[in-house]
C-alpha cells in the first residue's frame, strides 16, 4: 500500500504535447479511475506511472519516493494489460511465477505465493494450462493473478475489461472491486467506459485532450460536472445542452428555441442577463399534464429499453408551432428518459417539465460550469 503523487506531469512526443500538466494525489488504498475518450492521454498517463513511458516534465512519486528514473520493476507496481499480455508459451503457473523467478525468489516461496493467488482467483485447477486453452474471463484472472503474486504497492489497470463480452465485463468488474477492497492496494484504473468508471471508482479523473477536466467522487461528478465535456461524457444518454439567456432578475431562463424556464429552487441572480448553455439530464425530464409543462417535445424516435423509454425529439415552445432555431440557437434536439410505463407515440407533442433544482449552467464560451449561489 502506498500513496501516489502525480505533479504537473507533461508528456511530449517531439513537438506534439499529449499531456498538458496533470496533478493528482492518490491516497493509499484508493481506487482511482481515469476515464476519457480514446486519444485523451489516459493510457499515456498510466504508462508513465508504470515506467513504460518517459516523463517529459513533472514528477511522479510512489510511496513518497520519486520514480521518474526508476525501471518499472523497481517501482513496486504491477500492471494488468488490455490484451492481458500473457506469455502464450508458458503455463498459467509460469506466467504468474515469471516475475518472481527473475527476482530470484526461492522455489518454495514462489510456489506458495502462486498457489495463494490462484486460490483467491479460483485458478487452482488451471495452473497447468496454457493461455490458449483458457476462456476470456479466465485469462483476465490470470493477468490479475500475475499482478497479485508480486504483492505490489500499486496496481495499474489498462482497460482490463474491454476484451470481454458485456455479461462477463459486469461480473469481472465486481470481482476486481472486491479484490481491490480486500487487498486494499492503491490502484489506478484506466477505462473509456463510463459505467465501469462510475461503479469502480473511489474517485474519478475525467480526462480530455491531455487535461484532467475534473477529479472527484463519481457522485459529485454526476451531480456537479465541471464542464460541458464532463457533463456529456458521464451519464447516458448524454446531458442535453440548450443555449439560452438568464433573465435580469435571475428567476427564469429564456431558451433560444423560444420556451422560458422558471428556475425552481436555484437562485441565478448572480448570472442575470448573461448568455449561458443550459444543461439538463434526460432522466431529469418528466412528463406532466398539459398546462404544467416547461416546453413541448415534438417526438421523433422512441427507444424502448424495458424499465425506461428514451424519447428523442425537437424542443418546441408550449402551444406554438415548432419554429426555426434562431442564429446559434443549436438544434434543439433533446432526449428524455421516461418510465417504461409511459405510452409515447412518434409524432406526438409531449408536455415536459424539468425536475426542480437540477439545471446545470455552463459558460457558452469556455464550457465551464457557472458557480451556483
Amino acid at each position: 500500500m502506498a500513496d501516489i503523487a502525480i505533479r504537473n506531469v507533461v508528456k511530449r512526443y517531439g513537438d506534439t504535447q499529449v499531456i498538458h500538466g496533470i496533478s493528482i494525489d492518490i491516497a493509499a488504498g484508493e481506487l482511482i479511475v481515469i476515464v476519457g475518450p480514446s486519444g485523451c492521454g489516459k493510457s499515456t498517463l498510466l504508462r508513465m506511472v508504470a515506467g513504460l513511458e518517459v516523463i517529459t516534465e513533472g514528477e511522479i512519486s510512489i510511496g513518497g519516493r520519486v520514480v521518474n528514473r526508476l525501471e518499472p520493476k523497481d517501482r513496486n507496481i504491477a500492471m494488468v494489460f488490455q490484451n492481458y499480455a500473457l506469455y502464450p508459451h508458458m503455463s498459467v503457473f509460469d506466467n504468474m511465477a515469471y516475475g518472481l523467478k527473475i527476482a530470484g525468489r526461492p522455489k518454495g516461496e514462489i510456489n506458495e505465493r502462486v498457489q495463494k493467488a490462484a486460490r483467491m482467483l479460483e485458478l487452482s485447477e488451471l495452473l497447468d494450462r496454457r493461455p490458449r486453452q483458457l476462456s476470456g474471463g479466465q485469462r483476465q484472472r490470470v493477468a490479475m493473478g500475475r499482478a497479485i503474486v508480486r504483492n505490489p504497492a500499486v496496481f495499474l489497470f489498462d482497460e482490463p475489461l474491454s476484451n470481454l463480452d458485456a455479461k462477463l465485463r459486469v461480473q469481472m468488474r465486481l470481482e476486481i472491486k472486491q479484490l481491490q477492497r480486500s487487498l486494499a492496494t492503491t490502484s489506478l484504473y484506466v477505462t473509456h467506459d463510463q459505467v465501469e468508471a462510475m461503479t469502480l471508482a473511489d474517485r474519478l479523473v475525467v480526462m480530455n485532450q491531455g487535461v484532467a477536466e475534473q477529479i472527484d467522487t463519481p457522485l459529485e461528478i454526476y451531480e456537479r460536472p465541471a464542464s460541458t465535456f464532463v457533463a456529456s461524457f458521464i451519464g447516458s444518454p448524454s446531458m442535453n445542452f440548450l443555449p439560452g439567456e438568464v433573465d435580469g432578475d435571475g428567476t427564469s431562463i429564456a431558451l433560444a428555441q423560444g420556451p422560458r424556464l422558471r428556475a425552481m429552487g436555484q437562485a441565478l441572480g448572480q448570472h442575470g442577463g448573461r448568455s449561458i448553455t443550459l444543461g439538463v439530464r434526460p432522466e431529469h425530464l418528466a412528463m406532466v399534464p398539459e398546462g404544467e409543462e416547461d416546453f413541448h417535445l415534438q417526438v421523433g424516435v422512441v427507444e424502448t429499453l424495458g424499465a425506461d423509454i428514451l424519447v428523442h425529439g425537437k424542443l418546441v415552445e408550449a402551444g406554438a408551432a415548432a419554429r426555426q432555431a434562431k442564429g446559434e440557437g443549436g438544434s434543439g434536439i433533446i432526449a428524455a428518459r421516461l418510465p417504461g410505463s409511459a405510452r409515447v407515440l412518434e409524432g406526438e407533442r409531449l408536455p415536459l417539465k424539468v425536475a426542480s433544482g437540477l439545471l446545470h449552467l455552463f459558460d457558452p464560451e469556455s464550457g465551464k460550469r457557472l458557480v451556483e449561489v
Partner: protein, 282 residues
C-alpha cells in the same frame, strides 16, 4: 466449388495427374536405373520397372564411390553435405535471430545503416561475386574446410527479414509485461521471444537446410580435396564419367541419394515449410 460440373472435375484431376506424372517421372526413372546392372542401361532403351541390383548398387556407391570418378565415396559426400547444410541452417538461424532482435527491439545510432548493410546481401548472390569471394576464402585459409563451405553462406537477409517481420507482430504488451516482471533484454529474448518463434525457426530451418544441401557452385569452388566434396557437386563428376563408361546405374543411385534427404525433410515438415516459404516473401 461454385457449381457442379462433373466434366470440369474430371478435367481437373486429369491435369493434376499429368502434373504429378511430370514431377515424378524423372524421379522414378532415376530410381529404376539405380536398381539395374550397368549393362542393362547400355543397350537400347532402359527398363521402366525396378531391377534386382538395388542393394548391391547402393552398397557399392555408399562405401566405395564410383569407379573412375574420384575416390570419395557417396557416404563421405553425404556426410559432408549434411555437415554443410546443418551448419548453414543453424548458423543462419542463430545470427538472424540475434540481428533481427537488435533491429526490431533497440533504438540506436546507425540502426538503419546496419539494416541496409544486411539487406545488401540480397543483391549480392554468390554467383555474381565468384572470384573475389573465392580469393577472400583462399586468403583466410578456408579452402577445403567445413568453415569455408558454410560460413560465407551464413549471412542471410531472408532469414533476418522473416524474423523481423515476425517480431513486429509480437504484441508490444508482451515486452512491456516482461519489463514489469523485471526481465532485461537478453532475458526477454531467451525466455519469451525465442520460444514464441519456434514455428518460424522450424520453417526457416527447412528452407535453409535445403538451401545449404543444394549448394553447387560454392563447394565446387572451395573444395579441391575430395574428402570435402559434397554430394550435389560430386554428382557432376559421375555424370561426366558415366557417359564414357557404362556407369549410369551408379550415377543414378548417387542422384537418388543426393535428393532423398532434402526431399524427406520437405515432406516431413511440409506444413511448416510451406507456411514459412510463402510468408518469407510477403
Amino acid at each position: 466449388m461454385v457449381e457442379n460440373r462433373p466434366w470440369l472435375t474430371v478435367l481437373q484431376h486429369f491435369v493434376l495427374l499429368c502434373g504429378v506424372a511430370l514431377v515424378l517421372f524423372p524421379l522414378w526413372i532415376a530410381f529404376v536405373a539405380s536398381t539395374h546392372e550397368g549393362r542393362a542401361l547400355v543397350a537400347g532403351v532402359i527398363p521402366l520397372l525396378p531391377g534386382d541390383q538395388m542393394v548391391e548398387n547402393y552398397r557399392t556407391i555408399l562405401t566405395a564411390g564410383m569407379q573412375g570418378a574420384g575416390g570419395a565415396s557417396v557416404g563421405t559426400m553425404l556426410l559432408n553435405s549434411l555437415i554443410m547444410a546443418l551448419s548453414i541452417a543453424v548458423g543462419k538461424i542463430a545470427i538472424s535471430l540475434l540481428s533481427a532482435f537488435a533491429v526490431v527491439y533497440f533504438r540506436f545510432p546507425f540502426r538503419m545503416l546496419c539494416f541496409w548493410i544486411i539487406f545488401s546481401t540480397l543483391m549480392l548472390p554468390v554467383e555474381v561475386r565468384i572470384l573475389p569471394t573465392f580469393e577472400v576464402v583462399a586468403n583466410l585459409g578456408m579452402l577445403n574446410s567445413y568453415a569455408g563451405l558454410s560460413i560465407p553462406l551464413i549471412a542471410s537477409a531472408t532469414a533476418t527479414f522473416l524474423f523481423r517481420q515476425f517480431f513486429l507482430t509480437v504484441p508490444d504488451e508482451l515486452a512491456e509485461a516482461a519489463r514489469m516482471d523485471g526481465a532485461g533484454p537478453f532475458r526477454f529474448f531467451k525466455d519469451i521471444l525465442v520460444p514464441l518463434s519456434r514455428t518460424n525457426i522450424a520453417a526457416i530451418f527447412v528452407i535453409m537446410f535445403i538451401y545449404g544441401w543444394n549448394q553447387y557452385l560454392w563447394p565446387l569452388l572451395v573444395t579441391t580435396d575430395e574428402s570435402f566434396y559434397t554430394i550435389v557437386m560430386g554428382i557432376q563428376r559421375m555424370v561426366t564419367v558415366a557417359d564414357s563408361y557404362p556407369r549410369w546405374h551408379h550415377a543414378m543411385a548417387t542422384a537418388v541419394m543426393a535428393l532423398l534427404p532434402p526431399t524427406l525433410v520437405v515432406l516431413i515438415m511440409q506444413r511448416l515449410f510451406v507456411k514459412g516459404l510463402v510468408e518469407t516473401e510477403k
